[in-house]
Amino acid sequence: MLDAKIPSGPLDNKWTDYKGHCKLVNPANKRKLEVIVVGTGLAGASAAASLGELGYKVKAFCFQDSPRRAHSIAAQGGINAAKNYQNDGDSVFRLFYDTIKGGDYRAREANVHRLAEVSGNIIDQCVAQGVPFAREYGGLLSNRSFGGTQVQRTFYAAGQTGQQLLIGAYQALERQVALGNVTMYTRHEMLEVVKIDGKARGIIARDLVKGNLERHFGHAVLLCTGGYGNVFYLSTNAMGSNVTAAWKAHKQGATFANPCFTQIHPTCIPVSGDHQSKLTLMSESLRNDGRIWVPAKLNETRKAVDIPEEERDYFLERRYPAFGNLVPRDVASRAAKERCDAGHGVGTSKQAVYLDYADAIVRYGKIEAGKAGRVDVPMEEIITMGKQVVKEKYGNLFDMYNKITGENPYEVPMRIYPAVHYTMGGLWVDYELQTTVPGLYALGEANFSDHGANRLGASALMQGLADGYFVIPYTLGNSLADEIYSKAVETSHPAFEAAEKAVSDRINLLMNIKGKQTVESFHKRLGKIIWDKCGMARTKEGLEEAIRDVQALKKEFWSDVRIPGSINEMNPELDKANRVADFIELGELMCVDALNRNESCGGHFREEFQTPEGEALRDDANYMYVAAWEYKAEHEWNLHKEPLVYDVVKPSQRSYK
């Protein structure tokens, strides 16, 4: 059933070859072809803008009040590209290799190589749009290093790279709106995929302001709706980030791949109490200069600054001398959890480790003193100068930490703890980014294709923009070339009618439960089940229990949820209920997938499968495949396996020692 449609030929020629031979649509015909883009983050905005530029008639949808709000905006650290501007040995192959290795050999070679190939074009495109990347004094682009790599290939705009890239794509999108090529529907949420003769031909969307349902036709539908990290309730995702669009597609026949591959980011601000509504990430770039440690002694009660050097355990530097504090995210997160579980955690909850800038401040201070040609500078002055440098580099992150915790990170080490950040799993797509439903595509975080079992830092922005700017304009044309004879379908078609009725029935059902418990309380409970049993460490028993718990929760939700207000008005509680209902179903599938995968790899860590040193133990013989789940009926899925073939890279145990 799964045909990834990977072009034949040597790896580094596949994409060039594909582009040379794919079918094209002539400009006059493009005007007649309509494309629906759902979601306007990096993938969606870049796709909508690029397709609009090509001449397609595009309709773009987002649930926020403007496309500029999409959560891509919150990405802080940077975007990778194999430019080798630093002359430090980078290349397309090395970016490809690092990504495959970082993904713990669970990603598709051909997709990842294509990603590495177009990475350079992304930077060029963004610079041309006026994205103000950081620059050196000579006026050229600056780079920094990031986790999981040994070269400096990350382009950045202070701690707001995602924001700047998204605004670039947003502006390109608004330009197409002004030119009439794209029609933008803000505050709209997609609630169903409409299929005609087995092909995706449109969507049912709800106008969140008026509350009414709308039918929209498209020759193809692109889902660029991001990840599903909010299934955990607490995550670094935005409050509105949801799986609904992808889940509707799944229930219409699109297989969902590797749902259990979720990324836990090591450097988040720890939870402060039960009221917590979301978690805030501190950029991975902080690990460039900060040192992570815990007290070596159990039940340590002294303040961080009072603990002498020899009684501190810099556990990442100790365990992984080659990469030190810059090991990939999954490794760093697990190591932090291991220390906290062993009783070395800090803070009131004991669920945190220190991220310390004291050394970096002194180091930078000495460099500054050296630059000024001064010797015998008193320590206090060195520290002042060092703080200034750190402020320039990370000021906004330090301010954010200060606002949230009320502590001054220039004086005391920050406390960090891992939190859900990204989901590698998603809708299964082939090389052309098409799901198992013809005409239905998934781009960016919404698909599963490029990051395997663990994503490297600064790669999500790269993938979102690669898919939108440089992949979909080619691959969509290849199939739309066959659609030039299909006329736009009237939305009075029975398929639209039926789809709209299904959506409307479901909304009525939800509103008529009139139970006692709030949507939020269900979401919290779901999050706790998934975090405890399908989070950083998973076991067979735990997962089986979680499946039972989630099924019970689903029953309770559909019999006791309370949604105030009415349907035909702005009703945020109803919007949330629609999303949480889907999260509950997805939560079950995540546990099913995690239970099926009897190995540990990347973000998926099954306690039964680990090396004596506590590292993830893969089972390449039995699990080197993509697990693509087909929806059959409630609580029932069919597993399809797409074997992963490594022609170029030889999988080995990932070592960052």
Binding site: E53, N121, V127, M184, E573
Partner: protein, 254 residues
């Protein structure tokens, strides 16, 4: 961090929809941890309202980390509340004292009509960007990123303007409901870069025309926008916009 618990009264603007007339309602909130964010306090209040069979307060919010620009509350007489360089979502309850009454209003501007309660329609900002807030470059046209060296100071100044999150606090703070800080941030971002040069004149003229059409007021340089901007966008951008506008209109062909 040490924390305490507060009891507060929240006086909040309630308005069913665009057509209806709104009014203030007061709600007591109890036992609020000073470690909570302001929006988490509203979450707690909303949960109570739902359980009591009342309608929760509608408000815009998304990323809750100060970058998406969606949150928009006018708290105790200042957009985004009492802290400097801050968004509503990053305001924490440490900012308040036990027994305080907190007044929460939506952004008030004719160009930002209220949708419901504290939610307003800021699509006017998107239309201003559509009028020229971009570089007209199609995908695939770009030359190598390093083929165009850019003076670091200019690149940094451009970035400082590009940091605008489009939240609309500047409009909410301005006594004239002027969108000049928002507009000038975009114009400055692009005017400071060589990429923005070819469309420099048409951009500023068209964007100002669109801003006027949307019903924003004129700038009187009071500085309220700069003082409340969560990203500390400088008011000098407005002066730069004025210069750009003057130059563009002087050299205009017609």
């Amino acid at each position: 961090m040490e924390h305490t618990h507060l009891n507060l009264t929240v006086k909040v603007w309630r308005q069913k929809n665009n057509q209806s007339k709104g009014q203030f309602e007061s709600y007591p909130v109890k036992n609020i941890s000073t470690e909570m964010s302001f929006l988490e306090m509203i979450d707690v209040l909303n949960e109570e309202l739902i359980v009591d069979g009342k309608e929760p307060i509608a408000f815009d919010h998304d990323c809750r980390e100060g970058i998406c620009g969606m949150c928009s509350m006018y708290i105790n007489g200042k957009p985004h509340g009492p802290w400097q360089a801050n968004t509503t979502c990053q305001l924490h309850m440490r900012a308040f004292k036990d027994g305080d009454t907190v007044v929460v209003e939506p952004w008030r501007a004719a160009a930002f009509p209220v949708i419901k309660d504290l939610m307003v329609d800021r699509s006017a900002f998107d239309r201003i960007v559509q009028a020229g807030g971009y570089v007209s470059v199609n995908t695939g046209n770009a030359v190598d990123g390093n083929s165009l060296p850019i003076n670091k100071d200019k690149a940094d100044a451009s970035f400082a303007a590009a940091m605008c999150i489009g939240c609309g606090a500047c409009v909410a703070a301005c006594k004239n409901s002027s969108a000049m800080l928002f507009l000038s941030a975009k114009v400055s971002h692009l005017a400071l870069l060589p990429q923005g040069e070819p469309e420099r004149h048409s951009r500023v003229l068209n964007m100002v025309a669109q801003m006027d059409k949307e019903g924003f007021g004129a700038c009187t340089n009071t500085g309220a926008c700069e003082a409340t901007c969560p990203k500390e966008i400088s008011i000098s951008n407005i002066a730069r916009l004025n210069q750009e506008y003057l130059t563009a209109s002087l050299v205009a062909d017609k």
